[in-house]
Symmetry: C2
Subunit: 334 residues, 2 copies
DNA sequence: CTGAAAGCGCTTACAG
DNA sequence: CTGAAAGCGCTTACAG
């Protein structure tokens, strides 16, 4: 493991000069620069990131916190964030929360000692609760930059890049209502989720706009996973409710709902239409292809990383950025 | 940002003592220990990971290299690896290769300066080619431990934990043959893939065992993605080939194939049965539910991490571990 | 343009 | 059981 002094010695210069060759090559005369590069190649020298980090007080590393990396939406998000981070010369730490608030809080506490410059929070679970807010503000106090990719965080100065989940669910619901479908069930991701709360609002708004009264609405809850969704939709059906459409908060739940339906002999979309509030890469390849509300994740990941890196650099960043969405109609609802 | 000296001053002890309280608390008398803990809490002190890493020469960080994190199998693998790493006190760096060999090589070169103790390689792309082997052996020379979760790497001393892909594809193919289905098409992930090469072998073995001659076999190639698979299966069908079964190297390709079939009015499994060589979390929720060959990913991730951490600690580890698999028969093939 | 020197914040023999 | 001292490998004013 060659050090900078080894290289300096081999090249007949001082360590300072080697460091300069690495960090501001133009500041060193060509002859020496070449000798240094030759020595670096010869010794297969790699700068020690630990020493560099200690000296500079930064890490060139970001952390991504997701609710569940095994779900396809989060996988796609991670991909785009990773690529964007890479393009900026940052490594990406992956942190899976498994939708657990305790994990989230524990992680926020441990992040300062993990050596990250910035953190991207992309979990649907509600962040505006005291223990999380406390942990967040401690993290910020430690000088770690934070951006949120799922919801707005009140008053802590954490920039957010979010889709308007109310509008997302409203559009999804309206799409079904326009076809004259009723009743329509909203399948939410869980009572602890900020996104579900908003999406539910959008569902309600669309229904009211269509002239439905509140007691005609039907909201059921899952936990973002297919299994629970299958069960709760199954229970609903077994209780004699017969929806004409389902708006699912995410795609695994849409699949769970679909299975509950088909197992009971119902057909999609003929008997029941389904829309997901979340688009995933394989959505078009499901059977039937799943209608969903899409955000351009490639662009989204890049923008999140841009904002975070600006925040790390101490620049002013927009407190709130609205990320556009649009409905993609596929076979599950037409 | 309090430092260890601040804490020492506040507690009226030396920095050495604070360090001991953190790293070997029993070595410090209780009274002082308590004072130190109080000072730590009061100052909200967090040890600097950079300083610690520099001093100890380790990073408490692993890297996971996957072919494509947006694909469901890799998402599930990442989840289990992340959790296992976390349980051992390690952070996990996520590196998406996007199935590009150039990215892989670039990454292997850059890993030493990213500050990782160990690397898990879990890409299907063939690692036994010179540029990759060269980059790998440089990485090992830099003192970074490596384990491979997809294939064996010849002679570099990299431990591997792999499923027997030949057997996986053989089992999948035999499952279809047993039902008297023929012809059966093998849909591979790409000529550059080590896993595909093995899987193809398994397909051929099963067919021969069933008495099929080599010129009856049919192998087509994709790139692990649904899009290309849809296209190549579509072309096959349009050329008049009418398979009774398809063995797909991974799940996205199985979905692509399924779409090509259904778009041409064919039914699964009545007209064509499908099996995937890779099980994914939502496999049971596809329509029809997808038969596939399953590996227990929860267990697998844990074992990979165990081996890697042992290797980092300089312990002897098994050069090759066979990970069991079993066929899960679902609606797509029965 | 270049080098000597200081210092980032820890840990760990070493001496007591 | 505890502290003073050295050193991990860099970077960066500072002086020349």
């Amino acid at each position: 493991m060659a050090t900078i002094s080894d290289v300096a010695r081999a090249a007949g210069v001082s360590p300072s000069t080697v460091s300069r060759v690495l960090n501001q090559p133009e500041a060193v005369v060509v002859a020496k620069r070449d000798r240094v590069f030759a020595a670096i190649a010869e010794l297969d020298y790699r700068p020690s990131s630990a020493a560099r980090n200690l000296r500079r007080g930064s890490f060139d590393t970001l952390a991504l916190l997701v609710g569940d990396i095994s779900q396809p939406f989060h996988g796609a998000l991670a991909k785009s964030v990773q690529r964007a981070a890479d393009e900026h010369g940052y490594s990406l730490l992956l942190c899976d929360l498994d939708h657990s608030r305790d994990r989230l809080i524990g992680l926020l506490h441990s992040l300062p000692k993990r050596g990250v410059d910035g953190v991207i929070i992309a979990t649907a679970d509600n962040l505006n609760v005291q223990p999380v807010r406390g942990a967040l503000s401690e993290l910020l106090d430690q000088g770690v930059a934070v951006v949120c990719g799922s919801q707005n965080i009140r008053s802590l100065g954490v920039p957010a890049l979010v889709t308007d989940r109310v509008a997302v669910a409203r559009d999804a619901t309206a799409h079904l209502l326009t076809q004259g479908l009723w009743p329509i069930v909203f399948l939410g991701g869980g009572p602890g989720s900020a996104l579900t709360r908003d999406a539910r609002k959008g569902y309600e708004q669309a229904c009211r706009t269509a002239g439905r009264s509140d007691d005609e609405l039907c909201v059921i809850n899952g936990d973002y996973r297919a299994e629970a969704a299958e069960q709760s939709v199954g229970t609903l059906l077994d209780n004699g409710v017969r929806p004409a459409g389902i708006v699912a908060d995410n795609t695994p739940m849409a699949l769970g709902a679909a299975r509950a339906l088909t197992e009971r002999g119902l057909t999609i979309p003929a008997d029941v239409a389904i829309v997901s509030c979340e688009d995933v890469p394989l959505g078009a390849y499901l059977q039937p292809p799943l209608s969903s509300v899409r955000t351009d994740l490639e662009d989204y990941g890049r923008r999140i990383v841009d904002v975070l890196i600006s925040a790390i650099a101490g620049q002013d960043v927009p407190a709130r950025t609205l990320v556009p969405h649009h409905l993609v109609v596929r076979g599950s609802s037409s």
